[in-house]
Amino acid sequence: MHETILWQVGSLGTIHGKTLVMTWMAFVVIFVLVFLGTRRLTSETPGKLQNFLEWIVDFVRGIIRDNMEYTKAAGLHAYLLTLILFVFVSNMLGLIPNIFWPLFEHVEFAKLDEIFHGAALMSPTADVNTTASLAVLTFVLIIAYGIRFHGPKYFKHFIEPNAIFLPIHLIDMVAKPMTLAFRLFGNIFAGEVLISVLLMLPGIAIFGGVVPMTVWLGFSIFIGAIQSFVITVLTTAYIAQAIGSDEH
């Protein structure tokens, strides 16, 4: 379990410092991965990392193709690629032991000593703000693509087949991003809670905790990969629904 470290932003409000720092760490990991993968771009025989990136590109393209015409959503490709990569790396981040703790032990700037306190790093996706931000972006994309392909007519589908259905449509519209956010948050947050609990096994049992910890970390890797896939697929499916609502 992570304590919430709050950064005060003037009089505007607070920011979860730990979440933001971990987000940036995830960014750094992604940057390194992508930089190494695209350092020697070649169209002939790609290196291992380029191959891996190309596999992800093809994988996401497959997800889009399964849901809609690829040409309609080619612009989504980069977004979905970033989404799946970011969510996956974020989910994995919470499983990594806190190797940075000695570095920031006495750094009080921006409460870094508190942020890097604890046994493991934290997944940015274990904060509901992160998952909600992704859900908000999905929500915006759904409406944007709906308007882009149907114009103002898009809003007409809220009262179809009858105006009575408006509340149901509205609930549907809100439920989509909400479930998206809470599904990911719940999975990852629960995983981290259990990691904290396992780490709390007392005394001699700490060694006994090695086995359940290993099992749980393995399972968390699985969960993290599945959830990154799920949020990508659902985002694609929702947008596809908005694009093709009058064609089906």
Binding site: E3, T4, L6, V9, L12, G13, T14, I15, H16, T19, L20, T23, W24, F27, I30, F31, V34, G37, T38, L41, T42, S43, E44, Q50, L53, E54, V57, H77, A78, Y79, L81, T82, L83, L85, F86, P124, D127, V128, N129, T130, A132, S133, L134, V136, L137, F185, F189
Partner: protein
């Protein structure tokens, strides 16, 4: 503490994530996809080229086969022609030989006939000559030996009777 607490982290995360999307799209996905597209086109081109080359090879093979067939046909024709010509020529030669033989035979027969006729006439002449000589000799011997007087008398008698001898 409440784990579900919204605050400014939400917009901060939105901005962070959009920034990440923008940076990755610009510096990673775009060049990467361009490279993949390039490879796709390269492979497509290669495949098309290979296909064209295969077709070309097939065409050439077909042509060769056709040519080979024609050549074989021609050779067959030539052989047949030669056989026919040979047969004809053989028949001609045989015919010519037969004619020649006929001619030779005919001329030989004519020669023989001529020779025979010549021999016969010669023999005739000789026989006539010999007969005369023999008759002469016989007559001379008779006249010498017998009484010529009797003979003369007889002749005269006979002549007188008017009877040919």
């Amino acid at each position: 503490m409440n784990p579900i607490a919204f605050d400014l982290t939400l917009p901060a995360q939105i901005i962070s994530f959009l920034l990440l999307v923008w940076i990755l799209a610009k510096f990673a996905w775009k060049p990467l996809m361009a490279m993949m597209e390039k490879r796709r086109l390269f492979i497509q081109e290669n495949l098309a080229q290979a296909e064209a080359e295969r077709k070309e090879a097939e065409r050439i093979q077909r042509e060769y086969k056709e040519e080979m067939r024609q050549a074989r046909q021609e050779a067959q024709g030539i052989i047949e022609q030669a056989a026919k010509t040979g047969e004809q020529r053989a028949a001609e030669i045989v015919e010519e030989a037969r004619r020649e033989t006929e001619k030779l035979k005919a001329s030989a027969l004519a020669d023989i006939e001529r020779e025979r006729e010549k021999a016969v006439s010669e023999v005739k002449a000789q026989v006539a000559g010999l007969s005369i000589t023999v008759a002469e000799k016989l007559l001379r011997a008779r006249l010498d030996l017998s009484d010529q007087a009797d003979l003369v008398d007889q002749f005269i008698q006979e002549i007188g009777d008017g009877r040919p001898c």
